[in-house]
Amino acid sequence: MKAYWYCLSGIFFREWLRFWQQRTRLLSALVRPLLWLIVFAAGFRAALGIAIIAPYDTYITYETYIVPGLACMILLFNGMQSSLSMVYDREMGSMRILLTSPQPRSFLLICKLLASACISIVQVYIFLAITWFYGVQPPLLGLLVALPALLMVALMLGAIGLLLSNGIRQLENFAGVMNFVIFPLFFLSSALYPLWKMQEASLWLYWLCVLNPFSHGVELVRYALYLQFNPVALMVCAATTAICLCAAVLTFSPKRTSLRTAPSK
């Protein structure tokens, strides 16, 4: 058991070192949601009135509404990016060293997902600290209660990313993933607008939002931040994580070079 622990801590330590040495990554991860919060929310505040909806017990500003969604946006971009970077790592980099370790491959993949998830969560808390000073102040205890919810959502998105990366042969396809996965997941969710608003606009778009696991991730975090529990959201996130993780581990191939075509040499 100790060997597993040392392995897990080694993978965490390496991810942390890489994160620490690429601080511009942190900056870019924070700029995106902060722009949404400060610029986008200011513009849409007047257009989008928010009624009293759970888990809020009073009228809230639009900024307050979108903070949980923007926190999940950080998890979404990081989760996809770190999982898809494995496409590159498998052929070129350190992933080969990871995969020639004597520990079980499934364990190694889960360790890598967990480590990436924790790095993402650090970024989310830095974002939440900034939003606190901006005036969006959920209960202090909510910040602590949100931790397991954030971990759940980060793992779910990492597992989806890992599953996607199994089907992607080149890192250049990340642009395609942005257009066909990240943006639809984000915009077809409750991150920027409550689903009842979407229901008023279009019923079929509403149902797409309801079926989107990212919506449930956002709601899980939103409820947790305001000290409430959303069992449906938790079940959807847990089930999505389990299914995607199992499928990703089962379909994982250490080399992305297709076995149907020869490698370069």
Binding site: C7, I11, L17, G93, T100, L259, A262, P263
Partner: protein
């Protein structure tokens, strides 16, 4: 016991067969040079030996452990240096080695001891806190070899490890590999297409179009083909000019 035993191994990419019934062993205490022109199947063979490709046919045993039935035991006995560097350039030499030690399940104290010993052996102790990015090609290779030996493997695999090195670094690497075989009684399997790198006491395998066309000591191969030099034999067997 042989450090590596490859029995009847074949591999294909779909309908295209790239390895045909390979049989060979790598004895401990010696360097085995795996020669072959481009597209001979060397990298595919390395991918099979490191579990990056699943074995389709045949059997591979590393220090007696079957790679299919007991991959974890087999991988414990295997150290690998890939053709392209797999070091993390933004981490220091020591951080790279600590990561590898952790992947093998060593405690921090054990890892520290092993890293100290290996860096000392590779004469890299003074560079331990340098980022890998600051090292030259020869030193990076030595760090990779130190890393590959950290867990005391019985078999060291090198996939074209001398590519990109200047002649002096290449010579130093070859000398170092031979002293490793003597000191630690390990087997080294080194793929290359540079014939100058082969020493007179090395075991030689020549792979051409997925077929093992020569297998033995240089003297034995020369006896068999009645030729004067290894480059001529290589040319005859691969129908290409020696590189």
């Amino acid at each position: 016991m042989n450090a590596l035993q490859v029995s009847d191994v074949s591999f294909s990419y779909g309908a295209r067969a790239v390895l045909h019934g390979l049989n060979f062993t790598c004895p401990r205490g010696r360097v085995t040079a795996l020669l072959g022109p481009n597209a001979a199947g060397k990298t595919t063979l390395i991918s099979l030996l490191t579990c990056l490709y699943p074995l389709q046919q045949g059997q591979i045993k590393v220090s007696g452990h079957d790679l299919t039935r007991a991959p974890r035991s087999a991988l414990r006995e295997l150290g690998v240096v890939f053709q392209q560097s797999t070091l993390d350039l933004d981490l220091t030499v020591e951080q790279n080695l600590r990561y590898h030690a952790a992947l093998h399940g060593f405690s921090p104290a054990d890892a520290k001891q092993r890293i100290n010993a290996e860096l000392e052996r590779q004469q890299l102790s003074e560079r331990r806190h340098d980022k890998v990015r600051l090292l030259n090609g020869g030193h990076r290779r030595r760090v990779e070899i130190a890393r590959a030996l950290l867990h005391n493997p019985r078999l060291l695999l090198l996939d074209e490890a001398s590519v990109g090195l200047d002649p002096a670094s290449r010579q130093a690497l070859q000398t170092h590999l031979r002293s490793l075989c003597q000191e630690r009684d390990i087997a080294v399997l080194s793929t290359t297409h540079i014939l100058d790198e082969i020493g007179p006491e090395d075991h030689v395998l020549i792979l051409n179009k997925g077929l093992l066309v020569a297998n033995g000591s240089i003297a034995a191969i020369q006896d068999q083909y009645q030729q004067q030099s290894l480059p001529q034999i290589f040319e005859q067997l691969t129908q290409k000019a020696p590189l």
